[in-house]
């Protein structure tokens, strides 16, 4: 691995309500100079939750996704609030989006999305020992909840509205982790 490139400059080149685009000038160890653009991350990170019920199903949700402009099937997720512990954020999002909470929550892994141009990271949290509990969310319409057997990820791949790399990676990770623990 090379030495980290020297940062020559960083400046904001575009911003909107949600996004901040930064240009970063770099000089690599071999002298090559490049300017990259990247999207700054959300302030306090994000969580994605694999909530597994007693029959080995992960709770998926189907909701309208403005980025792709269609209804997408995927795991519940959301932003972490200021000073909010990761596991609390996961349990809050789960109650807002699915109407369930977990008594047992476990951090599995931190994932990046597109490290070449996004600073964003998402923490994968597994929730178990679920019980009914609902918190009000900010969704414009009720979210459809779709329990899906972790043992049938191949079948999930046949669903035409399932496409998200982050959800798929988190589901594989949780499945392998729970199999290793002997609880799946």
């Amino acid at each position: 691995m090379s030495k980290y490139p020297e940062i020559l400059h960083r400046r904001m080149v575009a911003r909107s309500r949600l996004f901040r685009v930064e240009a970063v000038g770099l000089r690599f160890e071999n002298g090559a100079e490049v300017e990259y653009e990247r999207l700054a991350g959300t302030s306090h990170g994000a969580v994605i939750i694999v909530a597994v019920d007693g029959s080995g199903c992960a709770q998926l949700i189907r909701e309208y996704a403005a980025g792709t402009g269609r209804y997408e099937l995927g795991l519940p997720k959301g932003r972490v609030e200021k000073d909010e512990p990761l596991l609390d954020a996961a349990n809050r999002e789960l109650q807002e989006e699915v109407g369930l909470a977990g008594r047992e929550l476990e951090w599995l892994r931190s994932l990046s999305l597109a490290p070449g141009y996004l600073a964003h990271r998402t923490e994968v949290i597994v929730a178990r020992d679920l019980y009914e509990s609902r918190l009000p969310g900010d969704e414009p319409e009720p979210i459809e909840v779709v329990p899906w057997p972790l043992d049938d990820l191949a079948g999930l791949l046949d669903e035409p509205d399932f496409s998200e790399a982050r959800s798929l990676a988190a589901l594989y990770l949780a499945r392998d982790h729970l199999r290793d623990k002997g609880v799946l």
Copy 2:
């Protein structure tokens, strides 16, 4: 699933050399109106390549990632050029970033990254029957190539510079696919 929301307006709210941020006003079936921001996708899409050699290793690369600001281990990938077939784009990127080409290329799946706010999609391509062939790329420094056994994704997860959800999802998909075909 609900009816698709009505698009009330779409306007560009920020743009840079690389990124275009759109605000989209929507009215949902229940009458709720919301404005979302989303990042428009790259014009012709992107490919991520799982190039598997005769010993069952996928060719990973380690390169500096401007988004996260660190060297990241992941699969080779890149943008599709105008009028370029997907498999050609995959074989071009493979030659630029790894110095190998594949005689057998297969489209596996289309992945979204963060459907809530990104329009981007990435096509997962599996390349096999590899041979040495290099094309000049636009990287600022030579890329380190790291062959990794598809049978040891658990070990890959222990590598501190491996974090990308998209690479992980593509590796799991390719592994399961090649196992199903009986070639792994």
